[in-house]
């Protein structure tokens, strides 16, 4: 019911692919999450987010929101698809599904039944850098949720009988999400080309041929290695206070022993990139061409001070919506594009990406759209941004932070994603200040430094029979 009739002219991309375990309607009914920039963004200064760490290493973050008798309980593991061993792509996501099977204390389905019995909602998702499990329930059920979640942190029972059907489920999930969708297939190839060495080039859901071979031993090994309190962050948002959360967490999660210390999350890094690359896919289901161009850029975690904030503002000013330069130039003034935009995927443990995209309309060609986008980038890199557009973009970001406080599960995600990718609570809370501090010169410099066609990857989705010349 909340579909936005004009969404197609304001499209924004989700930062990193996320995949969820389950799919019933309960989860689908959730409120939309924030657009990308808000992931790193924060509540205004008056928020009273508190944090403490249990003896076993579990970090706990409490985000009070006393407006409704609802709490969001989210457990984030600092493990994602980019941490997978070579040849085991998809294990992080497959394992996320397996977490819904039974434990030595609770038979399969008992946790879900307990959630359903109080009208709660639950789900989980996996990304490159993290895996998270959540329930939304009334506050009096918080302890029960913690008990179940702490239980499956260590006591999962994985028999061959549950492995086979669930592997079929994730294979069907891959078919549903990727194999049936030429755009999704091309996006996979785009990432595989953009990242020449880093595992962000491997799809979160996994490559089909490797997914097919994932087995019980892989799952158990993965579980034993990564699922431990000292590799997790618990976020509790909603109608609850810190003292209560502390007492309940000690009673439940506190009983789970600390796991072995994990080595630092050091992944293969990108070599210097000095080529432009092109990926294209022609498919009979496509009637209109579209393109996307991406660059590897620093993330909030890897950037120098202020650089990620400048990239965020660059994404907003260049192509962040109907007021952006790309939209104004290509859609409104020149009339050559149906949609166009740009975005920065800032929330990531390692270097991430910046992307522009466009679709022609009317008699315009894809080449015209691409050339016009290039021209806008060039203009921005050469002449910079003006103070008014910078100020407006900053205001939009800062305002989004205030609006974000209206949604407790959105808040939980914002903090969880930041903490699971190397950020701190303070990073989240200071984000508006750091955005305010970005200068026009910083934004121009980010464009000049990173949006260089000589090392971009372009991808083209084309109708059957058309090829990219």
């Amino acid at each position: 019911m909340m579909r936005n009739g004009t969404a197609w002219k304001r499209s924004k991309a989700w930062p990193l692919a996320l995949f969820v375990a389950m799919s019933p309607a309960g989860a689908v009914a959730q409120e939309p999450v924030q657009p990308p920039q808000e992931l790193q963004s924060a509540v205004a200064a008056e928020s009273t987010v508190e944090s403490f760490t249990l003896d076993n290493g579990l970090q706990v973050v409490v985000i009070p929101d006393r407006r409704a008798p609802v709490v969001t309980h989210m457990l984030w593991y600092k493990i994602g698809s980019a941490d997978e061993a070579p040849g085991k792509s998809g294990i992080a996501h497959f394992f996320e599904h397996l977490m819904f099977k039974g434990t030595s204390n609770n038979p399969a389905g008992a946790f879900s039944a307990a959630v359903a019995a109080i009208g709660g909602s639950e789900n989980a998702f996996t990304s490159y850098d993290y895996t998270a499990y959540f329930q939304q329930v009334s506050p009096d059920a918080l302890e029960t949720m913690m008990r179940f979640e702490a239980d499956r942190m260590r006591n999962l029972v994985l028999t061959e009988a549950v492995i086979g059907p669930e592997r079929d489920v994730v294979l069907e999930e891959r078919r549903s999400r990727i194999e049936t969708d030429p755009g999704a297939l091309l996006n996979e190839e785009m990432s595989a080309t953009l990242y020449q060495n880093h595992p962000y080039g491997i799809p979160v859901i996994g490559w089909m041929h490797e997914m097919e071979t994932l087995n019980r031993a892989d799952a158990i090994d993965f579980y034993n290695r990564y699922y431990a309190p000292n590799n997790a962050v618990l976020i509790v948002a909603g109608d609850v206070d810190t003292a209560t959360v502390r007492a309940l967490a000690e009673k439940t999660y506190g009983a789970v022993p600390r796991g072995p210390d994990l080595p630092p999350r050091v992944r293969p890094t990108e070599p210097e990139q000095n080529t432009s690359r092109t990926v294209s896919l022609s498919d009979p289901r496509v009637s209109l061409p579209s393109y996307q161009k991406s660059w590897v850029v620093p993330s909030y975690t890897t950037a120098e001070d202020g650089e990620a904030e400048a990239l965020d503002l660059l994404g907003e000013i260049l192509g962040g919506g109907a007021r952006s330069r790309l939209y104004q130039a290509l859609v409104v003034q020149q009339g050559v594009a149906a949609s166009v935009g740009s975005y920065y995927q800032g929330t990531a443990l390692d270097d991430s990406s910046f992307t522009v995209y466009g679709t022609p309309r009317g008699g315009a060609s894809l080449e015209q759209v691409e050339a016009a986008v290039d021209a806008e980038i060039e203009r921005l890199a050469t002449a910079g941004v003006n103070e008014q557009e910078l100020e407006r973009a900053k205001n939009r970001f800062v305002r989004s932070m205030i609006f974000a406080r209206d949604n407790q599960s959105g808040m939980a995600r914002m903090y969880g994603a930041a903490l699971a990718t190397g950020g701190t609570i303070e990073d989240v809370e200071r984000w508006p200040d750091r955005i305010r501090a970005v200068t026009a010169a910083d934004v121009q410099e980010a464009a000049k430094r990173y949006l260089d066609n000589k090392r971009a990857v372009s991808s083209y989705l084309l109708p059957a029979g058309e090829e990219k010349s």
């Binding site: 019911m1 996320l18 789900n123 998702f125 069907e172 496509v286 407006r392």
Partner: protein, 472 residues
């Protein structure tokens, strides 16, 4: 489903909604909004000096005011041959209004800190407004212009039209998109529900500024308006803004009569396409929102394939056999039609197996109904889920209150809802199961041609519906 990768690069949840909308096309997921009760949530009925009414929940914990409003109308009010008119109109309210052209309007809106958006559904045009409390004055002033005097200037009109046409063309070879259209046409015949909300390539080309002006005048009236507001504002202040935004509208809407329609059941449809998966959808009769049997049917559907991870279809098709990623059933209660839909997707070589299981489950439900335990669990879930799904943010509360007003359920509905659910007996649920699930459904398969007979679905029974991603 996703016809264009770049259009699909919307936030993940938006994709979900798009997906849902397509999966349930015939059954636009009209929400049987379970209600949710905030302990201290008090809904006030506010009447402005000029007589505009709104439901208000005052809440000062966050400095935000959220408003949702709706004009009954929507694409069912598009004149014949002018399909897509409401959809086009909904894209033009922030493209210039009153004395402000597009540039001026959007600059002022951006500087005001307020957000305004409109969308068209089959049954209504929805508006959404959100602002930080200190920015209300300018925000409402702009909303008033957008609601009362959209300009429909030539440049925005042609641009948005062209964007819509591009979207229609982008889906023209996409099997899912095409199957959605086929599905709606097969179920609804010559009823407006058969037409896509965004119109057709032919109809969109014929729309004129005069059409837009006439439609705006006919639909944007005080007697078919509902308004809900949540946030940091008191009744008196809200009353002033209500008058500023809505009082100048005409008193009465001029709406076409739209008949009720029963979906045409018992059809076998297929779209042959070489895909790695076959999607299956089925339509059964539904139940009207005002029908005394509504909650009995709702609870029956919950047990069969509703919103939890414990439904029968989820358990049998996904958990036990790994045949699919998503499966579910849902009730749709649109103003002029109701239905029960099942959808899923599976490997093409396992279609007949999947259909057989779904068919068995439907038959078992029709013959036996749920067990006492299942009914009890469904009641607990349905009662508890209301607050969590419908009241967890100002915007979701405002949406929920708007839906309640559109469905004419009464300001005390949230208080009454639990008792309505508790009162449902197992016999009533069995009766609904029999009533809804013994009819031969319409079934549609989209995927590779099913080889020689054995894989062909038994013409009648089968259910399944996938809801895929969420999270994000």
């Amino acid at each position: 489903m996703k016809t264009n990768r770049f259009i699909a690069t919307t936030p993940r949840l938006m994709q979900v909604k798009v997906l849902l909308a397509t999966v349930l096309l015939a059954f636009a997921f009209v929400a049987i909004h379970p209600m949710l009760a905030r302990a201290d949530m008090r809904i006030q009925k506010v009447e402005s000096p000029a007589g505009i009414t709104a439901w208000l929940v005052e809440d000062y914990s966050v400095p935000i005011v959220s408003m949702r409003f709706a004009f009954r109308g929507g694409s069912v009010q598009d004149p014949g041959g002018k399909e897509g008119l409401s959809y086009l109109m909904s894209g033009l309210f922030d493209e210039g209004a009153g004395d402000l052209d597009r540039e001026a309007f959007q600059d002022r809106l951006d500087d005001s800190g307020a957000e305004i958006s409109f969308s068209a559904d089959t049954d209504e045009i929805l508006g959404s407004f959100r602002a930080i409390d200190e920015d209300l004055e300018e925000g409402f002033a702009l909303l008033a212009k957008a609601v009362q005097s959209p300009r429909f200037d030539p440049e925005p009109l042609e641009r948005v039209r062209s964007q819509i046409l591009t979207g229609i063309e982008a889906g023209s070879r996409d099997p899912q998109e095409q199957s959605n259209r086929k599905w709606a046409a097969a179920l609804y015949g010559d009823h407006p529900y058969a037409s896509p909300t965004e119109g057709t390539a032919e109809s969109v080309k014929t729309l004129t500024r005069e059409d837009l002006v006439a439609q705006h005048e006919a639909v944007f009236a005080r007697d078919n308006l509902v308004v809900s507001v949540v946030g940091a504002i008191d009744a008196e202040t809200l009353g002033r803004y209500l008058d500023q935004v809505f009082a100048p509208l005409p008193a009465k809407a001029d709406l076409r009569e739209v008949p009720k329609v029963m979906p045409e059941l018992g059809q076998e449809l297929s779209v042959a396409y070489d895909l790695p998966q076959t999607s299956i959808r089925m339509a059964y009769p539904g139940v009207d929102r005002k029908d005394p049997g509504f909650f009995a049917a709702y609870l029956m559907n919950e047990v069969l394939g509703g919103g939890t991870f414990s439904s029968r279809l989820f358990e049998e098709v996904r958990e036990k056999r790994g045949l699919t990623y998503g499966i579910g059933s849902s009730l749709s209660t649109r103003r002029y039609s109701s239905g029960l839909g099942i959808a899923t997707s599976t490997r093409s070589d396992r279609v007949s197996e999947t259909l057989a299981i779904i068919k068995d489950e439907v038959q078992r439900m029709a013959e036996e109904g749920p067990t006492e335990e299942e009914l009890e669990a469904a009641k607990r879930y349905t009662i508890g889920a209301y607050a969590i799904n419908n009241l967890d943010s100002s915007t979701s509360i405002a949406s929920t209150l708007t839906q309640l007003q559109l469905e004419d359920l009464g300001i005390d509905y949230i208080d009454r809802r639990e008792a309505l659910i508790e009162a449902v007996t197992i016999d009533q649920v069995r009766e609904q199961a029999q009533r809804l699930l013994t009819t031969t459904p319409t079934v549609m398969l989209v995927g590779p041609e099913q080889g020689g007979g054995s894989d062909q679905p038994a013409a009648s029974e089968t259910p399944a519906k996938p809801e895929t991603e969420t999270g994000g």
